[in-house]
Amino acid sequence: MHISNGIIDGPVSLAYGVVAVALLAFCLGKARHDLSDRLAPMAGLVAAFIFAVQMLNFPVLPGVSGHLLGGALAAALVGPWVGALCVSVVLIVQALVFADGGISALGLNIANMALLGTAVGFGVLIALMKLLPRTAAGLGLAVFLASILSVTLASQGFVLQYLLGGDVPLTIGYGQISLTMAGVHVLIGIGEGLIAAVTVTTVAKVRPDLVYALRGRRLDPAVGGGSTRKFVLAGLGVAAVLAGGVSYLASGSPDGLDATTREGCTVDAAGEITGGSCIAQRAADHELGGSVLADYGVKGLDGSTGLAGLIGVVLTFAIGLGVFWLVRRRRAAAGAQAPAERVGAGN
Protein backbone atom coordinates (compact mmCIF):
# COMPACT_ATOMS: atom_id res chain seq x y z
CA MET A 1 0.00 0.00 0.00
CA HIS A 2 1.41 3.36 -0.98
CA ILE A 3 1.46 6.27 1.45
CA SER A 4 -0.63 9.19 0.20
CA ASN A 5 -0.25 12.93 0.73
CA GLY A 6 -0.98 14.38 4.15
CA ILE A 7 -0.32 11.34 6.35
CA ILE A 8 3.23 12.31 7.22
CA ASP A 9 3.98 16.01 7.67
CA GLY A 10 5.98 18.14 5.23
CA PRO A 11 9.44 18.40 6.86
CA VAL A 12 9.75 14.64 7.44
CA SER A 13 8.57 13.89 3.87
CA LEU A 14 11.13 16.35 2.56
CA ALA A 15 13.94 14.86 4.66
CA TYR A 16 13.08 11.36 3.43
CA GLY A 17 12.99 12.70 -0.13
CA VAL A 18 16.52 14.06 0.20
CA VAL A 19 17.80 10.79 1.70
CA ALA A 20 16.04 8.79 -1.03
CA VAL A 21 17.63 10.88 -3.80
CA ALA A 22 21.09 10.49 -2.28
CA LEU A 23 20.77 6.71 -1.87
CA LEU A 24 19.28 6.33 -5.34
CA ALA A 25 22.23 8.16 -6.85
CA PHE A 26 24.50 5.68 -5.06
CA CYS A 27 22.43 2.72 -6.33
CA LEU A 28 22.58 4.16 -9.83
CA GLY A 29 26.37 4.15 -9.78
CA LYS A 30 26.48 0.56 -8.53
CA ALA A 31 23.82 -0.57 -11.02
CA ARG A 32 25.84 0.90 -13.90
CA HIS A 33 28.74 -1.18 -12.70
CA ASP A 34 26.54 -4.31 -12.82
CA LEU A 35 24.99 -3.75 -16.22
CA SER A 36 27.08 -0.99 -17.96
CA ASP A 37 25.37 0.12 -21.17
CA ARG A 38 22.90 -2.73 -20.94
CA LEU A 39 21.40 -0.91 -17.94
CA ALA A 40 18.42 0.85 -19.54
CA PRO A 41 16.90 -1.99 -21.57
CA MET A 42 17.56 -4.70 -18.97
CA ALA A 43 16.50 -2.70 -15.93
CA GLY A 44 13.53 -1.39 -17.91
CA LEU A 45 12.27 -4.91 -18.57
CA VAL A 46 12.86 -5.90 -14.94
CA ALA A 47 10.95 -2.81 -13.81
CA ALA A 48 8.09 -3.71 -16.14
CA PHE A 49 8.12 -7.20 -14.60
CA ILE A 50 7.96 -5.77 -11.07
CA PHE A 51 5.20 -3.38 -12.11
CA ALA A 52 3.19 -6.28 -13.50
CA VAL A 53 3.84 -8.28 -10.31
CA GLN A 54 2.69 -5.37 -8.13
CA MET A 55 -0.61 -5.20 -9.97
CA LEU A 56 -1.55 -8.67 -8.71
CA ASN A 57 -3.51 -8.55 -5.49
CA PHE A 58 -4.07 -11.54 -3.30
CA PRO A 59 -6.33 -11.87 -0.25
CA VAL A 60 -4.61 -11.72 3.14
CA LEU A 61 -7.62 -11.57 5.41
CA PRO A 62 -11.22 -11.00 4.47
CA GLY A 63 -11.36 -7.39 3.33
CA VAL A 64 -7.61 -6.95 3.39
CA SER A 65 -5.68 -7.69 0.25
CA GLY A 66 -1.98 -7.34 -0.17
CA HIS A 67 0.07 -6.95 -3.27
CA LEU A 68 3.66 -7.98 -3.77
CA LEU A 69 6.19 -5.33 -2.88
CA GLY A 70 8.76 -7.20 -4.91
CA GLY A 71 11.76 -5.87 -2.99
CA ALA A 72 13.22 -9.23 -1.98
CA LEU A 73 12.23 -10.81 -5.31
CA ALA A 74 14.04 -8.07 -7.22
CA ALA A 75 17.08 -8.31 -4.94
CA ALA A 76 17.32 -12.08 -5.43
CA LEU A 77 17.00 -11.92 -9.20
CA VAL A 78 18.92 -8.79 -10.21
CA GLY A 79 20.81 -7.79 -7.08
CA PRO A 80 20.24 -5.00 -4.57
CA TRP A 81 21.37 -2.06 -6.72
CA VAL A 82 19.42 -2.75 -9.89
CA GLY A 83 16.57 -4.06 -7.74
CA ALA A 84 16.24 -0.88 -5.65
CA LEU A 85 16.53 1.21 -8.80
CA CYS A 86 13.79 -0.74 -10.58
CA VAL A 87 11.37 -0.63 -7.64
CA SER A 88 12.02 3.13 -7.31
CA VAL A 89 11.29 3.72 -11.00
CA VAL A 90 8.07 1.73 -10.60
CA LEU A 91 7.07 3.93 -7.63
CA ILE A 92 7.92 7.17 -9.48
CA VAL A 93 5.86 6.16 -12.51
CA GLN A 94 3.00 5.01 -10.28
CA ALA A 95 2.93 8.40 -8.52
CA LEU A 96 3.17 10.55 -11.66
CA VAL A 97 1.37 8.48 -14.30
CA PHE A 98 -1.09 6.39 -12.28
CA ALA A 99 -1.79 8.75 -9.33
CA ASP A 100 -0.97 5.89 -6.93
CA GLY A 101 0.87 7.17 -3.86
CA GLY A 102 1.21 10.87 -3.06
CA ILE A 103 3.69 12.98 -5.00
CA SER A 104 4.91 14.56 -1.77
CA ALA A 105 5.17 11.09 -0.18
CA LEU A 106 7.36 9.71 -2.95
CA GLY A 107 10.49 9.89 -0.79
CA LEU A 108 8.72 8.01 2.02
CA ASN A 109 7.48 5.28 -0.29
CA ILE A 110 10.86 4.87 -1.99
CA ALA A 111 12.58 4.70 1.40
CA ASN A 112 10.25 1.94 2.66
CA MET A 113 9.61 -0.26 -0.33
CA ALA A 114 12.54 0.31 -2.67
CA LEU A 115 15.47 0.96 -0.33
CA LEU A 116 14.62 -0.66 3.02
CA GLY A 117 12.71 -3.59 1.49
CA THR A 118 15.43 -4.44 -1.00
CA ALA A 119 18.33 -3.93 1.39
CA VAL A 120 16.81 -6.10 4.13
CA GLY A 121 15.74 -8.73 1.60
CA PHE A 122 19.19 -8.98 0.10
CA GLY A 123 21.02 -8.94 3.42
CA VAL A 124 18.90 -11.75 4.87
CA LEU A 125 19.10 -13.70 1.62
CA ILE A 126 22.89 -13.59 1.46
CA ALA A 127 23.21 -14.56 5.13
CA LEU A 128 20.81 -17.49 4.74
CA MET A 129 22.47 -18.70 1.53
CA LYS A 130 25.64 -19.18 3.56
CA LEU A 131 23.79 -21.31 6.11
CA LEU A 132 21.44 -23.33 3.91
CA PRO A 133 22.43 -25.95 1.30
CA ARG A 134 22.68 -24.66 -2.25
CA THR A 135 19.79 -26.77 -3.45
CA ALA A 136 16.53 -25.59 -4.94
CA ALA A 137 14.81 -26.10 -1.58
CA GLY A 138 17.53 -24.21 0.26
CA LEU A 139 17.37 -21.29 -2.15
CA GLY A 140 13.58 -21.28 -1.99
CA LEU A 141 13.57 -21.26 1.81
CA ALA A 142 16.11 -18.42 1.88
CA VAL A 143 14.04 -16.32 -0.54
CA PHE A 144 10.89 -17.13 1.44
CA LEU A 145 12.33 -15.96 4.76
CA ALA A 146 14.03 -12.94 3.18
CA SER A 147 10.70 -11.84 1.69
CA ILE A 148 8.88 -12.08 5.02
CA LEU A 149 11.53 -10.07 6.86
CA SER A 150 11.78 -7.54 4.06
CA VAL A 151 8.04 -6.86 3.99
CA THR A 152 7.75 -6.76 7.78
CA LEU A 153 10.66 -4.36 8.22
CA ALA A 154 9.36 -2.15 5.39
CA SER A 155 6.13 -1.82 7.39
CA GLN A 156 8.17 -0.87 10.45
CA GLY A 157 9.74 1.83 8.28
CA PHE A 158 6.29 3.35 7.98
CA VAL A 159 5.78 3.17 11.75
CA LEU A 160 9.05 5.05 12.21
CA GLN A 161 7.92 7.69 9.72
CA TYR A 162 4.63 8.06 11.57
CA LEU A 163 6.48 8.40 14.85
CA LEU A 164 8.62 11.17 13.35
CA GLY A 165 6.01 13.03 11.37
CA GLY A 166 2.52 11.71 12.07
CA ASP A 167 0.06 14.49 12.74
CA VAL A 168 -2.16 12.83 15.29
CA PRO A 169 -1.23 11.42 18.71
CA LEU A 170 -2.94 8.08 19.14
CA THR A 171 -4.42 6.23 22.11
CA ILE A 172 -3.04 2.90 21.01
CA GLY A 173 0.64 3.73 21.37
CA TYR A 174 3.40 3.12 18.87
CA GLY A 175 4.27 -0.28 20.27
CA GLN A 176 0.85 -1.59 19.36
CA ILE A 177 0.76 0.11 15.96
CA SER A 178 4.10 -1.49 15.30
CA LEU A 179 2.77 -4.89 16.37
CA THR A 180 -0.41 -4.57 14.32
CA MET A 181 1.54 -3.53 11.24
CA ALA A 182 4.01 -6.37 11.81
CA GLY A 183 1.17 -8.88 12.21
CA VAL A 184 -0.59 -7.91 8.98
CA HIS A 185 2.68 -7.69 7.08
CA VAL A 186 3.92 -11.07 8.26
CA LEU A 187 0.80 -12.48 6.59
CA ILE A 188 1.44 -10.46 3.43
CA GLY A 189 5.06 -11.54 3.66
CA ILE A 190 4.12 -15.23 3.79
CA GLY A 191 2.11 -14.83 0.59
CA GLU A 192 4.85 -12.81 -1.03
CA GLY A 193 7.51 -15.22 0.21
CA LEU A 194 5.78 -18.30 -1.23
CA ILE A 195 5.37 -16.63 -4.61
CA ALA A 196 8.90 -15.21 -4.63
CA ALA A 197 10.42 -18.56 -3.58
CA VAL A 198 8.76 -20.52 -6.38
CA THR A 199 9.53 -17.76 -8.88
CA VAL A 200 13.23 -17.67 -8.02
CA THR A 201 13.66 -21.45 -7.93
CA THR A 202 11.94 -21.72 -11.32
CA VAL A 203 14.42 -19.25 -12.79
CA ALA A 204 17.35 -20.87 -10.96
CA LYS A 205 16.58 -24.28 -12.45
CA VAL A 206 16.45 -22.98 -16.03
CA ARG A 207 19.00 -20.19 -16.05
CA PRO A 208 21.01 -20.04 -12.82
CA ASP A 209 23.15 -17.30 -14.37
CA LEU A 210 20.17 -14.93 -14.15
CA VAL A 211 19.79 -15.29 -10.39
CA TYR A 212 22.05 -12.65 -8.87
CA ALA A 213 21.99 -14.27 -5.45
CA LEU A 214 23.64 -17.44 -6.84
CA ARG A 215 26.57 -15.38 -8.12
CA GLY A 216 26.88 -17.24 -11.39
CA ARG A 217 27.01 -20.73 -9.88
CA ARG A 218 24.61 -23.59 -10.46
CA LEU A 219 22.36 -25.16 -7.88
CA ASP A 220 23.49 -28.41 -6.30
CA PRO A 221 21.16 -31.27 -7.18
CA ALA A 222 18.80 -32.10 -4.35
CA VAL A 223 20.04 -35.03 -2.24
CA GLY A 224 16.83 -36.75 -1.27
CA GLY A 225 14.75 -35.38 -4.11
CA GLY A 226 12.62 -33.47 -1.59
CA SER A 227 9.07 -33.09 -2.79
CA THR A 228 7.41 -29.70 -3.10
CA ARG A 229 4.79 -30.60 -0.53
CA LYS A 230 7.52 -31.28 2.00
CA PHE A 231 9.07 -27.93 1.13
CA VAL A 232 5.80 -26.03 1.48
CA LEU A 233 5.07 -27.68 4.83
CA ALA A 234 8.56 -26.90 6.09
CA GLY A 235 8.15 -23.33 4.88
CA LEU A 236 4.85 -22.89 6.66
CA GLY A 237 6.31 -24.36 9.82
CA VAL A 238 9.20 -21.95 9.74
CA ALA A 239 6.76 -19.13 9.04
CA ALA A 240 4.79 -19.99 12.13
CA VAL A 241 7.93 -20.10 14.25
CA LEU A 242 9.04 -16.84 12.70
CA ALA A 243 5.67 -15.18 13.29
CA GLY A 244 6.00 -16.02 16.95
CA GLY A 245 9.62 -14.95 17.02
CA VAL A 246 9.16 -11.73 15.10
CA SER A 247 6.36 -10.51 17.32
CA TYR A 248 8.47 -11.44 20.31
CA LEU A 249 11.32 -9.32 18.99
CA ALA A 250 8.95 -6.60 17.86
CA SER A 251 7.57 -6.36 21.36
CA GLY A 252 11.03 -5.63 22.70
CA SER A 253 11.77 -2.53 20.70
CA PRO A 254 8.37 -0.83 20.99
CA ASP A 255 8.87 -0.89 24.73
CA GLY A 256 11.65 1.53 24.01
CA LEU A 257 9.26 3.59 21.93
CA ASP A 258 6.63 3.41 24.63
CA ALA A 259 9.16 4.64 27.11
CA THR A 260 9.87 7.65 24.93
CA THR A 261 6.21 8.53 24.67
CA ARG A 262 5.88 8.10 28.39
CA GLU A 263 8.87 10.33 29.05
CA GLY A 264 7.50 13.31 27.17
CA CYS A 265 4.29 13.10 29.10
CA THR A 266 2.78 16.40 28.07
CA VAL A 267 4.28 16.50 24.59
CA ASP A 268 3.32 14.19 21.73
CA ALA A 269 5.45 13.10 18.79
CA ALA A 270 4.44 16.10 16.70
CA GLY A 271 5.64 18.44 19.45
CA GLU A 272 2.16 19.56 20.41
CA ILE A 273 1.00 19.65 24.00
CA THR A 274 -1.68 17.08 24.59
CA GLY A 275 -2.36 18.33 28.06
CA GLY A 276 -1.31 16.56 31.20
CA SER A 277 -1.53 12.87 30.49
CA CYS A 278 0.48 10.86 28.01
CA ILE A 279 -0.25 8.38 25.26
CA ALA A 280 1.08 5.48 27.23
CA GLN A 281 -1.20 6.14 30.19
CA ARG A 282 -4.27 6.16 28.01
CA ALA A 283 -3.18 3.03 26.25
CA ALA A 284 -3.51 1.26 29.58
CA ASP A 285 -7.21 2.14 29.74
CA HIS A 286 -7.98 0.29 26.57
CA GLU A 287 -11.40 -1.34 26.56
CA LEU A 288 -9.98 -4.79 26.05
CA GLY A 289 -7.34 -4.21 28.71
CA GLY A 290 -8.61 -7.16 30.72
CA SER A 291 -8.76 -9.67 27.89
CA VAL A 292 -6.66 -12.80 27.87
CA LEU A 293 -4.41 -11.55 25.09
CA ALA A 294 -4.20 -7.97 26.38
CA ASP A 295 -0.88 -6.23 25.80
CA TYR A 296 0.04 -9.06 23.47
CA GLY A 297 1.09 -11.42 26.21
CA VAL A 298 -0.82 -14.45 27.46
CA LYS A 299 -2.03 -13.83 31.00
CA GLY A 300 -0.20 -15.77 33.65
CA LEU A 301 2.80 -16.43 31.44
CA ASP A 302 5.80 -14.14 31.61
CA GLY A 303 7.49 -13.28 28.36
CA SER A 304 4.72 -14.90 26.35
CA THR A 305 4.44 -12.12 23.80
CA GLY A 306 5.71 -14.33 21.03
CA LEU A 307 3.14 -16.95 21.94
CA ALA A 308 0.35 -14.38 21.79
CA GLY A 309 1.60 -13.20 18.42
CA LEU A 310 1.62 -16.76 17.19
CA ILE A 311 -1.88 -17.41 18.47
CA GLY A 312 -3.03 -14.19 16.84
CA VAL A 313 -1.49 -15.12 13.52
CA VAL A 314 -2.95 -18.63 13.59
CA LEU A 315 -6.38 -17.35 14.64
CA THR A 316 -6.57 -14.70 11.95
CA PHE A 317 -5.28 -17.17 9.40
CA ALA A 318 -7.89 -19.74 10.45
CA ILE A 319 -10.69 -17.18 10.28
CA GLY A 320 -9.49 -16.03 6.88
CA LEU A 321 -9.32 -19.61 5.63
CA GLY A 322 -12.79 -20.36 6.96
CA VAL A 323 -14.36 -17.33 5.32
CA PHE A 324 -12.56 -18.07 2.08
CA TRP A 325 -13.73 -21.67 2.19
CA LEU A 326 -17.35 -20.53 2.53
CA VAL A 327 -17.00 -18.04 -0.32
CA ARG A 328 -15.36 -20.67 -2.49
CA ARG A 329 -18.12 -23.20 -1.88
CA ARG A 330 -20.74 -20.65 -2.80
CA ARG A 331 -18.80 -19.68 -5.89
CA ALA A 332 -18.27 -23.31 -6.85
CA ALA A 333 -22.01 -23.87 -6.57
CA ALA A 334 -22.62 -20.87 -8.83
CA GLY A 335 -19.86 -21.99 -11.17
CA ALA A 336 -21.41 -25.43 -11.59
CA GLN A 337 -24.43 -23.81 -13.15
CA ALA A 338 -22.40 -21.78 -15.60
CA PRO A 339 -19.14 -23.63 -16.26
CA ALA A 340 -18.53 -21.77 -19.51
CA GLU A 341 -17.93 -18.54 -17.63
CA ARG A 342 -14.72 -19.69 -16.06
CA VAL A 343 -12.60 -19.34 -19.18
CA GLY A 344 -14.07 -15.91 -19.78
CA ALA A 345 -13.22 -14.91 -16.24
CA GLY A 346 -9.60 -15.79 -16.82
CA ASN A 347 -8.75 -12.30 -17.97
Binding site: G6, A52, V97, V168, V198
Partner: protein, 256 residues
Protein backbone atom coordinates in the same frame (compact mmCIF):
# COMPACT_ATOMS: atom_id res chain seq x y z
CA UNK B 1 -2.56 -4.02 -27.82
CA UNK B 2 -3.68 -1.86 -30.70
CA UNK B 3 -4.85 0.76 -28.25
CA UNK B 4 -2.37 3.32 -29.47
CA UNK B 5 0.71 4.48 -27.67
CA UNK B 6 -0.97 6.11 -24.74
CA UNK B 7 -1.76 4.65 -21.34
CA UNK B 8 -5.09 3.95 -19.69
CA UNK B 9 -4.95 7.14 -17.64
CA UNK B 10 -4.69 9.50 -20.60
CA UNK B 11 -7.82 11.39 -21.69
CA UNK B 12 -7.38 12.37 -25.31
CA UNK B 13 -8.32 15.97 -26.03
CA UNK B 14 -6.91 19.23 -27.38
CA UNK B 15 -7.17 21.74 -24.56
CA UNK B 16 -4.76 24.43 -23.41
CA UNK B 17 -3.74 22.16 -20.54
CA UNK B 18 -3.03 19.26 -22.89
CA UNK B 19 -0.82 21.43 -25.08
CA UNK B 20 1.28 22.82 -22.23
CA UNK B 21 4.84 21.41 -22.25
CA UNK B 22 5.10 18.36 -19.95
CA UNK B 23 7.98 19.73 -17.86
CA UNK B 24 5.85 22.79 -16.99
CA UNK B 25 2.94 20.59 -15.96
CA UNK B 26 5.12 18.33 -13.80
CA UNK B 27 6.74 21.28 -12.02
CA UNK B 28 3.33 22.90 -11.48
CA UNK B 29 1.81 19.67 -10.15
CA UNK B 30 4.69 19.07 -7.72
CA UNK B 31 4.63 22.67 -6.46
CA UNK B 32 0.85 22.67 -6.12
CA UNK B 33 1.03 19.41 -4.11
CA UNK B 34 3.73 20.86 -1.86
CA UNK B 35 1.58 23.94 -1.16
CA UNK B 36 -1.43 21.74 -0.37
CA UNK B 37 0.56 19.56 2.02
CA UNK B 38 2.11 22.61 3.70
CA UNK B 39 -1.28 24.18 4.41
CA UNK B 40 -2.32 24.00 8.10
CA UNK B 41 -5.43 21.82 8.40
CA UNK B 42 -7.45 24.56 10.11
CA UNK B 43 -7.47 26.80 7.01
CA UNK B 44 -10.73 25.47 5.62
CA UNK B 45 -11.08 28.39 3.20
CA UNK B 46 -7.71 27.65 1.63
CA UNK B 47 -8.69 24.04 0.87
CA UNK B 48 -11.93 25.24 -0.69
CA UNK B 49 -9.90 27.61 -2.87
CA UNK B 50 -7.59 24.74 -3.94
CA UNK B 51 -10.63 22.65 -4.85
CA UNK B 52 -11.95 25.53 -6.97
CA UNK B 53 -8.55 25.81 -8.70
CA UNK B 54 -8.58 22.08 -9.48
CA UNK B 55 -12.16 22.27 -10.70
CA UNK B 56 -11.29 25.18 -12.99
CA UNK B 57 -8.33 23.23 -14.37
CA UNK B 58 -10.50 20.14 -14.94
CA UNK B 59 -13.06 22.22 -16.84
CA UNK B 60 -10.31 23.91 -18.85
CA UNK B 61 -8.77 20.51 -19.68
CA UNK B 62 -12.21 19.03 -20.48
CA UNK B 63 -11.69 16.11 -18.13
CA UNK B 64 -15.05 14.47 -17.37
CA UNK B 65 -16.05 14.65 -13.70
CA UNK B 66 -17.06 10.98 -13.76
CA UNK B 67 -13.57 9.97 -14.88
CA UNK B 68 -11.97 11.98 -12.06
CA UNK B 69 -14.32 10.48 -9.48
CA UNK B 70 -13.83 6.92 -10.66
CA UNK B 71 -10.05 7.21 -10.81
CA UNK B 72 -9.77 8.85 -7.41
CA UNK B 73 -11.20 5.68 -5.82
CA UNK B 74 -7.57 4.54 -5.68
CA UNK B 75 -7.43 6.58 -2.49
CA UNK B 76 -10.08 4.52 -0.66
CA UNK B 77 -7.76 2.68 1.80
CA UNK B 78 -6.67 6.05 3.13
CA UNK B 79 -10.24 7.22 3.50
CA UNK B 80 -10.69 4.22 5.80
CA UNK B 81 -7.66 5.34 7.83
CA UNK B 82 -9.05 8.84 7.99
CA UNK B 83 -12.42 7.55 9.23
CA UNK B 84 -10.77 5.39 11.90
CA UNK B 85 -8.51 8.11 13.29
CA UNK B 86 -11.19 9.95 15.31
CA UNK B 87 -11.75 6.79 17.36
CA UNK B 88 -8.10 6.06 18.10
CA UNK B 89 -6.66 9.50 18.68
CA UNK B 90 -5.99 10.80 22.17
CA UNK B 91 -6.95 14.16 23.63
CA UNK B 92 -10.25 15.84 24.47
CA UNK B 93 -13.31 14.14 23.03
CA UNK B 94 -16.55 15.39 21.57
CA UNK B 95 -19.85 13.89 20.46
CA UNK B 96 -20.71 13.53 16.79
CA UNK B 97 -23.98 11.78 15.93
CA UNK B 98 -23.94 10.15 19.33
CA UNK B 99 -20.43 8.72 18.98
CA UNK B 100 -17.61 9.85 21.19
CA UNK B 101 -14.65 10.86 19.03
CA UNK B 102 -11.41 12.71 19.68
CA UNK B 103 -11.22 16.29 18.45
CA UNK B 104 -7.59 15.80 17.52
CA UNK B 105 -8.53 12.68 15.58
CA UNK B 106 -11.26 14.47 13.69
CA UNK B 107 -8.76 17.09 12.59
CA UNK B 108 -6.22 14.41 11.73
CA UNK B 109 -8.74 12.44 9.70
CA UNK B 110 -9.82 15.59 7.91
CA UNK B 111 -6.17 16.43 7.24
CA UNK B 112 -5.50 13.06 5.58
CA UNK B 113 -8.79 13.09 3.71
CA UNK B 114 -8.48 16.58 2.23
CA UNK B 115 -4.76 16.50 1.43
CA UNK B 116 -4.94 12.97 0.06
CA UNK B 117 -7.93 13.77 -2.14
CA UNK B 118 -6.51 17.04 -3.48
CA UNK B 119 -3.17 15.33 -4.10
CA UNK B 120 -4.79 12.49 -6.04
CA UNK B 121 -6.85 14.95 -8.09
CA UNK B 122 -3.74 16.97 -8.99
CA UNK B 123 -1.89 13.81 -10.02
CA UNK B 124 -4.91 12.67 -12.03
CA UNK B 125 -5.05 16.01 -13.86
CA UNK B 126 -1.37 15.62 -14.75
CA UNK B 127 -1.79 12.00 -15.88
CA UNK B 128 -5.04 12.70 -17.70
CA UNK B 129 -3.64 15.50 -19.81
CA UNK B 130 -0.15 14.15 -20.51
CA UNK B 131 0.76 10.91 -22.31
CA UNK B 132 3.10 8.76 -20.21
CA UNK B 133 5.96 9.15 -22.67
CA UNK B 134 5.67 12.95 -22.48
CA UNK B 135 5.80 12.83 -18.68
CA UNK B 136 9.13 11.00 -18.92
CA UNK B 137 10.46 13.44 -21.53
CA UNK B 138 9.37 16.22 -19.20
CA UNK B 139 11.28 14.58 -16.34
CA UNK B 140 14.29 14.33 -18.63
CA UNK B 141 14.13 18.06 -19.43
CA UNK B 142 13.89 18.74 -15.69
CA UNK B 143 17.39 17.19 -15.42
CA UNK B 144 16.37 13.81 -14.03
CA UNK B 145 19.30 11.44 -14.61
CA UNK B 146 19.00 9.82 -18.03
CA UNK B 147 19.33 6.34 -16.57
CA UNK B 148 16.11 6.77 -14.59
CA UNK B 149 14.07 8.19 -17.47
CA UNK B 150 15.40 5.58 -19.87
CA UNK B 151 14.53 2.72 -17.53
CA UNK B 152 11.06 4.20 -17.08
CA UNK B 153 10.63 4.59 -20.86
CA UNK B 154 11.52 0.96 -21.45
CA UNK B 155 9.29 -0.10 -18.60
CA UNK B 156 6.23 1.67 -19.99
CA UNK B 157 6.95 0.40 -23.48
CA UNK B 158 7.09 -3.25 -22.41
CA UNK B 159 4.50 -3.21 -19.64
CA UNK B 160 1.65 -4.07 -22.01
CA UNK B 161 3.75 -6.72 -23.70
CA UNK B 162 4.44 -8.44 -20.38
CA UNK B 163 0.84 -8.08 -19.18
CA UNK B 164 -0.34 -9.70 -22.41
CA UNK B 165 2.24 -12.44 -22.04
CA UNK B 166 0.99 -13.16 -18.51
CA UNK B 167 -2.60 -13.21 -19.75
CA UNK B 168 -1.75 -15.67 -22.52
CA UNK B 169 0.08 -17.94 -20.09
CA UNK B 170 -2.86 -17.91 -17.70
CA UNK B 171 -5.31 -18.64 -20.49
CA UNK B 172 -3.13 -21.50 -21.68
CA UNK B 173 -3.05 -22.90 -18.15
CA UNK B 174 -6.81 -22.69 -17.71
CA UNK B 175 -7.54 -24.19 -21.11
CA UNK B 176 -5.39 -27.17 -20.06
CA UNK B 177 -7.81 -27.81 -17.22
CA UNK B 178 -5.94 -25.99 -14.45
CA UNK B 179 -8.49 -24.89 -11.89
CA UNK B 180 -7.08 -21.92 -10.00
CA UNK B 181 -8.26 -21.69 -6.41
CA UNK B 182 -6.91 -20.04 -3.27
CA UNK B 183 -3.54 -21.26 -2.03
CA UNK B 184 -3.19 -24.26 -4.32
CA UNK B 185 -2.95 -22.03 -7.35
CA UNK B 186 0.04 -20.29 -5.80
CA UNK B 187 2.49 -22.78 -7.23
CA UNK B 188 1.27 -22.60 -10.78
CA UNK B 189 0.93 -18.84 -10.47
CA UNK B 190 4.43 -18.40 -9.09
CA UNK B 191 6.20 -20.67 -11.55
CA UNK B 192 4.31 -18.73 -14.20
CA UNK B 193 5.87 -15.60 -12.75
CA UNK B 194 9.29 -17.23 -12.95
CA UNK B 195 8.71 -17.99 -16.61
CA UNK B 196 7.49 -14.44 -17.11
CA UNK B 197 10.69 -13.10 -15.56
CA UNK B 198 12.79 -15.35 -17.81
CA UNK B 199 10.93 -14.18 -20.89
CA UNK B 200 11.17 -10.54 -19.78
CA UNK B 201 14.89 -10.79 -19.11
CA UNK B 202 15.64 -12.64 -22.32
CA UNK B 203 13.54 -10.15 -24.23
CA UNK B 204 15.62 -7.42 -22.60
CA UNK B 205 18.79 -9.10 -23.85
CA UNK B 206 17.38 -9.34 -27.39
CA UNK B 207 16.21 -5.73 -27.31
CA UNK B 208 19.63 -4.64 -26.12
CA UNK B 209 21.41 -6.58 -28.88
CA UNK B 210 19.05 -5.21 -31.51
CA UNK B 211 19.65 -1.68 -30.26
CA UNK B 212 23.38 -2.27 -30.01
CA UNK B 213 23.56 -3.40 -33.61
CA UNK B 214 21.78 -0.19 -34.59
CA UNK B 215 24.36 2.00 -32.88
CA UNK B 216 23.08 2.32 -29.28
CA UNK B 217 25.78 3.66 -26.97
CA UNK B 218 23.89 3.94 -23.70
CA UNK B 219 22.06 7.14 -24.56
CA UNK B 220 18.83 7.55 -26.46
CA UNK B 221 19.03 9.56 -29.72
CA UNK B 222 18.73 13.28 -29.14
CA UNK B 223 15.87 13.45 -31.63
CA UNK B 224 13.61 11.91 -29.02
CA UNK B 225 14.03 14.92 -26.80
CA UNK B 226 13.93 17.66 -29.43
CA UNK B 227 10.97 19.79 -30.35
CA UNK B 228 8.39 21.43 -28.18
CA UNK B 229 10.51 22.41 -25.15
CA UNK B 230 8.71 24.87 -22.91
CA UNK B 231 8.84 28.55 -23.87
CA UNK B 232 9.02 31.33 -21.33
CA UNK B 233 5.35 32.04 -21.95
CA UNK B 234 4.44 28.44 -21.11
CA UNK B 235 6.43 28.59 -17.89
CA UNK B 236 4.53 31.74 -16.91
CA UNK B 237 1.19 30.15 -17.79
CA UNK B 238 2.11 27.03 -15.83
CA UNK B 239 3.16 29.09 -12.82
CA UNK B 240 -0.30 30.64 -12.48
CA UNK B 241 -1.90 27.74 -10.59
CA UNK B 242 0.84 27.06 -8.00
CA UNK B 243 1.32 30.80 -7.55
CA UNK B 244 -2.39 31.25 -6.93
CA UNK B 245 -2.32 28.38 -4.45
CA UNK B 246 0.69 29.87 -2.66
CA UNK B 247 -1.06 33.25 -2.54
CA UNK B 248 -4.12 31.61 -0.98
CA UNK B 249 -1.90 29.92 1.61
CA UNK B 250 -0.06 33.14 2.51
CA UNK B 251 -3.31 35.09 2.65
CA UNK B 252 -4.84 32.48 4.95
CA UNK B 253 -1.86 32.41 7.31
CA UNK B 254 -0.91 36.06 7.60
CA UNK B 255 -3.67 38.12 6.04
CA UNK B 256 -7.30 38.65 6.89
Amino acid sequence: MGAGHTHPMYVHSHSAVHHLAPEVKIAAAVLFTVVVVATPRELLGAFAAYAVLILALAVLARIPAGWLTKRSLIELPFVATALLLPFFASGPRTDVLGLSVAVEGLWGGWNILVKGTLGVLIALLLAGTTPARDILIGLDRLRTPQAITQIALFMLRYLDVLADEARRMRLARISRLDDPRFLWQLRGFASGLGTLFLRAFERGERVYLAMRSRGYTGRLPAALHEGSAATAGQWVAGAIVPAAAAAVLLLGRFGV
